[in-house]
Symmetry: C2
Subunit: 228 residues, 2 copies
């Protein structure tokens, strides 16, 4: 169960979006196809298409994709990404200063589960696409938070886990350039970004606008918009 391995392997937290897909190709470049696995969380997200996107991207990249269920967020309720009764707003919530898509501690949970799964698989490198540059007010995406969590995970699991965040200090433009340089663009046609779950994407939600801005600034055509 606690497979100790001499071969360096990495587990990528793959959401099916642009950033985690870029991270998957970053990991492939560093650890090779046989050194990479991916994990996706089914936490009751409204845009279920994300899960199929993650599976497709993993297949294109030639890595395994394990989907783990999380029913707890839906039970906690109250946020726009999982609760059908809450509308997605482009503005922040006045009372918290955070976008209303915020699930408190969501990334802490994702990374802790990913670390537990990695522990079982004898993997000691985690890769996640969080970025504080365009972090939209999510405090659990900041480098300081990730570093503190890494300390807690190492102590709590007595493991040598390392959390890699290759996009942490990149702008969206730089992330697009990295994806291009890593050969990730073909897989980008199968990613999902739109907060409204539309395909082709709505083009007007904050996530679509941020993605379009990054591709435009990098001077790269978004393969998703050319997809059938």
């Amino acid at each position: 169960m606690n497979g100790k391995s001499d071969i360096e392997k990495a587990l990528v937290v793959l959401s099916g979006g642009q950033d985690s897909t870029t991270c998957l190709y970053w990991a492939l470049d560093r650890y090779g196809t046989h050194g990479v696995e991916s994990v996706t969380f089914d936490y009751g997200q409204r845009h279920r298409t994300e899960l199929a996107c993650a599976a497709t991207v993993a297949k294109i990249a030639g890595v395994t994709n394990r989907c783990l269920p999380i029913d707890t967020f839906a039970a906690l309720g109250g946020d726009a990404l999982t609760d059908p009764e809450v509308e997605v707003a482009s503005d922040v919530d006045d009372s918290t200063g955070l976008p209303n898509t915020f699930v408190p501690g969501r990334n802490l949970i994702f990374l802790t589960y990913a670390a537990a799964y990695a522990y079982q698989r004898g993997i000691r490198h985690l890769v996640t696409g969080v970025a504080q540059t365009d972090y939209s007010g999510y405090p659990d995406c900041r480098e300081e938070t990730i570093n503190a969590l890494q300390t807690a995970l190492r102590l709590g699991m007595e493991s040598e886990i390392t959390i890699h965040t290759p996009l942490m200090h990149l702008s969206k433009k730089e992330t697009v350039e990295l994806a291009r340089d890593l050969g990730a663009l073909p897989a980008m046609a199968f990613t999902h970004t739109c907060y409204n779950g539309q395909r082709p994407p709505c083009g007007t939600c904050p996530a679509c606008l941020l993605r379009a801005k990054g591709f435009a600034e990098a001077g790269v055509a978004d393969p998703l918009l050319a997809a059938p």
Copy 2:
């Protein structure tokens, strides 16, 4: 949703066992009946009676009890507490040096969810019954781990959450004495400890033996053994 409150309130992670019940009474003593809520996790534990015990103990104590589902551990599988295919062993697993009831990072997950729920409820004190004295090899129960997690939670949720661990440095004997002094003994009749899920308890599993030792050393009769 992010209710900010001037009144100090505490959320107790209540498993239905001896330690968390003692913590519940510790919190009642400190914050009063109206200042305490409890949360219990249904993570597919084999001894389902724990959930009923937690609800009963909360009722006796006069506090609310929210049960939150966690299906992810069962999906991760492979441990004796959730996987019916794994036998509970009293010995440690030779390959890991940990008891085979170990779910990697289990307490990190519990406390992160509890912190998310507390955030929603405007509560900034968490109380958990983890102890490193008799910690049975669980690295996620140690003070160092809890402190690191508290840092990650504060940064990741931008909250002032404090994790209280009143039993951290107490022996089982001292925990029984604390329970007695706090008036928690009547509720102890409704707690659950046995790893084999038996009621009356089996008396031979490691959890039963540890509990019996604590009561014996404190010179207190265990109300559970006198229960009908």
